[in-house]
Point group: D2
Chain length 298, copies 4
Amino acid sequence: MNSITCAFIGLGKMGRELCGRIGGAGYRTLAYDLDPEASKYAEESYKNVTSSALLPAVKNSAVVFSCLPNSHHVSEVVNNLLQQEGTLNKVQYWVDTTSGHPGESQKIASELMSKDVIFFDCAVSGGPAGATAGTLTAMVGGDHSAFGEVQSIISSFAKNIVHLGPSGAGHAVKAVNNTLLAANICSVSEGLIALKKYGIPLDVALKAISTSSGRSWVTQQRMPEHVLTRGFDYGFSLGLLCKDVDTCMGMLQESNIPAPSLRVTREIIQVAKNILGDESDHLEIVKIIEDWSGETIE
Amino acid sequence: MNSITCAFIGLGKMGRELCGRIGGAGYRTLAYDLDPEASKYAEESYKNVTSSALLPAVKNSAVVFSCLPNSHHVSEVVNNLLQQEGTLNKVQYWVDTTSGHPGESQKIASELMSKDVIFFDCAVSGGPAGATAGTLTAMVGGDHSAFGEVQSIISSFAKNIVHLGPSGAGHAVKAVNNTLLAANICSVSEGLIALKKYGIPLDVALKAISTSSGRSWVTQQRMPEHVLTRGFDYGFSLGLLCKDVDTCMGMLQESNIPAPSLRVTREIIQVAKNILGDESDHLEIVKIIEDWSGETIE
Amino acid sequence: MNSITCAFIGLGKMGRELCGRIGGAGYRTLAYDLDPEASKYAEESYKNVTSSALLPAVKNSAVVFSCLPNSHHVSEVVNNLLQQEGTLNKVQYWVDTTSGHPGESQKIASELMSKDVIFFDCAVSGGPAGATAGTLTAMVGGDHSAFGEVQSIISSFAKNIVHLGPSGAGHAVKAVNNTLLAANICSVSEGLIALKKYGIPLDVALKAISTSSGRSWVTQQRMPEHVLTRGFDYGFSLGLLCKDVDTCMGMLQESNIPAPSLRVTREIIQVAKNILGDESDHLEIVKIIEDWSGETIE
Amino acid sequence: MNSITCAFIGLGKMGRELCGRIGGAGYRTLAYDLDPEASKYAEESYKNVTSSALLPAVKNSAVVFSCLPNSHHVSEVVNNLLQQEGTLNKVQYWVDTTSGHPGESQKIASELMSKDVIFFDCAVSGGPAGATAGTLTAMVGGDHSAFGEVQSIISSFAKNIVHLGPSGAGHAVKAVNNTLLAANICSVSEGLIALKKYGIPLDVALKAISTSSGRSWVTQQRMPEHVLTRGFDYGFSLGLLCKDVDTCMGMLQESNIPAPSLRVTREIIQVAKNILGDESDHLEIVKIIEDWSGETIE
């Protein structure tokens, strides 16, 4: 049993898996969620995990993990804790696995620094399945020299851990990564519809493309496993993807970068979100592109 | 030594490598190119390969391979041969490894069928390096039942051989594959420029993305090996890429498919081709996108 | 009564109005349509217009007018007549008011020239209402030196007659004009939706824009009269608009011109055509853009 | 001589013309600019205009006009004045002719309301030439019931005065108007290049289009008078146009409106701004599109 105690805040689809991996790696983990059912579930499902209220969880931990819908939520929790005298005394590190916003992460980092808490933005890629398997990629921003101590905890859920620069860098790369994912979903859909109209079986076409220069994770995994099957069951919501893409659009806007390809991606997924709603699977973007031509990808 | 004799027409950068692999696999190969230096070079460099004029090469072969700049060239050679009585008497199969046009391949196939020659469009992906190593992907269209006999010859240069449907199907999938490659070059460039402006080292960012959901062959291979190095030395010309993308655009147009993502890709690479010329490396598209923001990907 | 006899081929919504204006100007006009009801209607409705079969109409005329769905139809009629020995003996000029294709018009012109018939492509803009009022704009291509003689007949229906160059020039400018119309429909729709979401009354906004630098015929006429009213009743079909835009796209493709703005227009109206059908009014494009945001322009 | 005294803050290219028209209409006008040369110039050039420092100008006026680079500058001046006790006591109305930002205008309006000053955003369209001639369009937002009193002053420089809604409405419509202007510059440029490649004289083509359905202020005025002449001398800077387009993009983003046409416009003009700089004429966008195809519009 490891002597470091961790707090884990936010036990949604992704958070609970991360929390379970940390506990499973031998860290005593105090789990908190707004929904008491969620923390009870975590306690019952994972080793070394105990349900806790927010304040005691943080008070008794050296490392706090958060996994929330967006940086705004993280900021609220942090501000709340900063106003409770002494709550953060024991805390040395805060690791935020939210798909967050680089600019807001920089602000949170400097606020926590006033209490000697070192903040890392630690965006993860690989989905709940990758979390369960411990094979996530972690994209980390924050003080490199202090990173060693949390890296070993992060390695309980991530196989590829990449330190990318100062605060916000992890969230920035995650935002770009997810925008590329969205771009690939759009462009691959359009290409497959052209092949379908041509009478070519799409499973075979994807097999060919996936060993060729046009390949991407979308041709290799998303399309064959979740779209051709008509399952649309990956489990990553369109609303969350759109949030990440908007973070990337903000970065492009701030730096005056013309980006016609990524911009057209944003317009397409915005159509999908407006028509299908936040809660659809992110792969349902495909359905909008299908409607435009009257052809299905199957 | 295999008893089947092959003709190989077109000994450019790609063709000579394919020709060398066929000879190396033990097939007697008669090599022809408009440029006599090219066929002399093939004879000197590869096992079982003999330089030959066009007519005798075809007259003495059971299988003809072609690797030409586009389907129009293939059509010209085929029409030329069809007018020479008896030239195709021994030929059973014609395998066209050109990055060709699906519609023109259908026409060539039906013309050759009048002389009992079975035509396969056999587009390849993997570049000269993949040819040398014998690890290409071959995307094949044509009569499936007759495919077995040529498949073993094709396997001398291709590791993944995928039969995709009737005549033209191989060229159609290749056109879509290369259009996805072009789309990825554009969108990844835009994303990397955003990260560069943010101060993030791009080699590390590419490492993170390349194990995450936004990954593609462009993040995994093209960018780190040929762009970050500022080499732009992959060896696939912008002119040839544009030809393939235009084939895909034709397919979209014929089937009335709206494809905003692939279309914007075409507009960007057309700018690159107009400004940089046909002979630039296809990765120099990146330079146009860099000029738009004044930031370089390195 | 003018001594020149005209034939008029194609008596659809637009053609019959043009035919009526020519007759009304005092030219004896022999009217032909595939549908006998249409030529009977023309005879009954207009002065100096007589219903006729195709061959006698052409045989007895010095000037032939055509107004057909596209250049392909014109080409068929011309080829048919060329095969009937002597039919074109009296004909000096052929004026094609179809929204045609520049390249096909060039071919038709050279075929007719073999029988000493001078061909003019004479695209018109202004719709059936403009035809009735005789206020159309005519965009003409063909031999300038011979143009004087037909110009006075054309002036029976067009107020602005512009000679633009050799054969095909009229159809080329019409194709670009209609593509700009389509582009304006799309961009104005997007802008108005932004203002609607902001709570601004659109009739007033259009009044302001229509005397400012962002104005276009779409802000001045199409939107206030046919969209804000929710009438969508201009009477120009989406299918015909798409045909003209595709002609323009072909021109861009042939000349390797990157045109991201016009291209995105084509993708949007292709979506509209696939979903709403050829027969919708061209302004119903607006409905697709409305669906994307869930906001209506009214 | 009218009894109302006006202050005019900001005497750039546009501001000084507006100031001159107000003075010319008989209003005593106190003119202020950061650059003393500018206010001296206004005093010397226009009737009833006196150069003044900022505080006395405002202290002695019932109506304050501002014409500054953007809303941020307006906000700074207003905040500065609000901190000087009593400065705004006499002021009843503030009319901001800046091409401003709707959201910031709402904030300024509510701040000024605390001192009983009624704020109107009054964006103008028509350029310095329209100001000199008094033929501008004014797009006004703010309290409609109070508008009558300032409307007569505004009519000294504007012919079309349109009240569009509450605070910010004028700036919102101006932003959309200028974005449509930018969109038209892009799409017309692309279309003209296609016609140029086809060998059609562009002055004649523009004449045809400008009486047809594809017409816009860009085909009727900007292209023939400032681009075909190669003058690029309209006098409205690219930097200011981009600012207005970005205001429109912000409105689209806030309301989740997919707008592929306006978005592609923004990407193109951002390229132009990055390459040509803020101070270029807004029509120099054309040069970027020309470079893409290697063809000039002349």
